[in-house]
């Protein structure tokens, strides 16, 4: 579905315009795509350039200018539900295409056969896009309930806050809050381990050094080891306790 603009004045909807052209013009003169016959509107007031699913609003040096969501602007990258104001008129921009970062079919890469020529000086592309697409996969259909459940869980944010407290040596008593995705422990060149914060918990993994860290007295080897509340970690002679903050 193409994006559209809904023209209204004083809350009353006047007309709906699909943005199915590469360039949609707004102005008082009848040759515009969206004609607003009002003296506060310049004869050629503004234009909207649409490239596939993105639309860009541009003021064409109008006398009274325009605003988006209350802020005067010359050029604006339109987002769903933006309200363009021209005088007393409002144009609401609706684009219910999901932003790719949240869409389930996010990963479909496609090929644009004719590269779009865009030169900033000439303004925007004039010729219609010749878009021939190759889907990166048909596997999208397999985005089934089980999988989406998994993803929801996987991206369900962070585990509870946790801390590593040093138990011996000169830094005894010091606490290290595990607020980053990765935290390294130890001395570079001697022995280093990394604590990874993942959605389902914290994991310690050996990075470098001749010996492996121990958890509760046993060596963790090469593999990541999930930490439990009050586990005792030892590496490079330093003893530490891992615990969740409550």
């Amino acid at each position: 579905m193409p994006a559209k603009l809904i023209l209204s004045m004083d809350g009353a909807v006047l007309k709906e315009y699909p943005l199915n052209k590469e360039r949609t013009t707004i102005g008082r003169k009848p040759h515009n795509d969206i004609v607003i016959d009002n003296l506060a509107v310049s004869s050629d007031h503004a234009a909207i350039v649409t490239i596939l699913n993105d639309s860009f609003l541009e003021d064409l040096d109008s006398t009274n200018g325009l605003a988006v969501n209350g802020t005067p602007t010359k050029k604006h990258f339109l987002q769903n539900n933006d309200v363009i104001e021209i005088g007393k008129y409002k144009l609401k921009y609706l684009n219910d295409q999901p932003t790719q970062t949240s869409a389930a079919d996010f990963e479909k890469t496609m090929v644009l056969r004719a590269p779009v020529k865009m030169s900033p000086k000439e303004g925007f592309a004039k010729s219609p896009l010749d878009v021939t697409v190759t889907r990166k996969t048909e596997a999208t259909a397999q985005f089934n309930a089980t999988n989406s459940g998994m993803v929801a869980e996987a991206s369900a944010g962070q585990p509870p806050a946790a801390v590593v407290q040093i138990l011996n040596g000169p830094n005894a008593g010091k606490e290290l809050e595990l607020v980053k995705n990765l935290t390294t422990l130890g001395k570079p060149g001697v022995q280093v381990a990394v604590l990874a914060r993942r959605p389902h918990g914290f994991f310690i993994t050996h990075v470098e050094g001749g010996s492996f860290p121990t958890v509760n007295g046993s060596s963790i080897g090469e593999q990541p080891h999930q930490l439990r509340d009050h586990d005792l970690i030892e590496l490079a002679g330093v003893k530490m306790e891992f615990y969740f903050k409550t």
Partner: protein
């Protein structure tokens, strides 16, 4: 230093959390200093076929030609063989994929992105087509070495959209160039100086679409002394963030200089040395 000793290379590829099969292909040859990563597209298994052809053409052809020649040798037109090999074989892969797609209906329209690099003479030659990337970590600085052939990148370049606004775009994942889609392809080629300590990351968009550049850079910096773990960690990050696409990474760490022998006596010496 011999290229094999000067570089440490690891690669890892994963289908991700959503897809049932992996359409990425990766390979490397530590004796040549060659790395290849391709991200295929097309229905059924055509994506895997396309990326597989690209990777095998590149690795076998380059290996074959370098059996009795050096990448720093100049050809008749004064171009280095290393550069010529990468560019010509991306074109060759393009034609193979294009022909396969034309002759087999189930492969119609298949294609692949590619990023491939050859390390020689203290430099790296990089060729890419599409949105597979190469990044470099040098000291604290982590940056992209390649620029995507994508609609979004063109919009950024033409000033229509700012880098910050780019993540709001609904036009992601539209590549403007791909291997195997047309009879000809225009590979982009650059040669960069390499420094000891540099780490190069080649990846498919399954990584950089799911993980912010900053997080990729931090991970590499923290785990640079354990490349296999760094590769595993990057894939884990992409999967923990949703893993919506196949994820592939190749990491190359420059441990020493690998200057090509100049002059006949050095060549003779290195010949005896082998």
């Amino acid at each position: 230093m011999d290229i094999h000793d000067a570089l440490e290379i690891v690669s890892k590829t994963d289908p991700g959390m959503v897809r049932s099969h992996n359409e990425d292909s990766v390979t490397y040859d530590a004796d040549l200093g060659l790395v290849v990563l391709a991200d295929g597209m097309g229905g059924y298994n055509a994506g895997e076929v396309a990326s597989g052809i690209a990777v095998s053409v590149l690795s076998s052809e380059v290996r074959h030609r370098l059996q009795d020649a050096h990448p720093e040798d100049l050809d008749g037109a004064g171009e280095e063989l290393g550069v010529v090999l990468l560019r010509d074989n991306v074109k060759k892969a393009n034609l193979s994929i294009f022909r396969a797609a034309q002759s087999q209906p189930q492969y119609a329209g298949m294609g692949t992105t590619i990023v491939t690099a050859l390390f020689y003479d203290d430099r790296v030659a990089v060729v890419h087509v599409g949105d597979s990337r190469m990044y470099r970590l040098r000291g604290d600085e982590f940056e992209s070495v390649t620029r995507d052939h994508s609609l979004l990148q063109e919009q950024i370049d033409s000033g229509m959209i700012s880098k910050e606004d780019a993540r709001l775009s609904k036009n992601k994942n539209l590549v403007t160039r791909a291997v195997g889609i047309d009879a000809d392809v225009d590979p982009e080629l650059h040669v960069h100086e390499v420094q000891v300590g540099d780490i190069y990351l080649l990846c498919s968009d399954g990584l950089n679409d799911m993980v912010e550049d900053e997080d990729i850079g931090t991970t590499l910096q923290m785990l640079q002394n354990n490349l296999p773990l760094a590769a595993t960690q990057l894939i884990q990050l992409a999967n923990d963030n949703g893993g919506r696409d196949n994820v592939s990474v190749i990491l190359v760490k420059v441990k020493g200089r690998y200057t090509a022998p100049r002059g006949w006596w050095q060549k003779l010496y290195s010949w005896f040395g082998n």
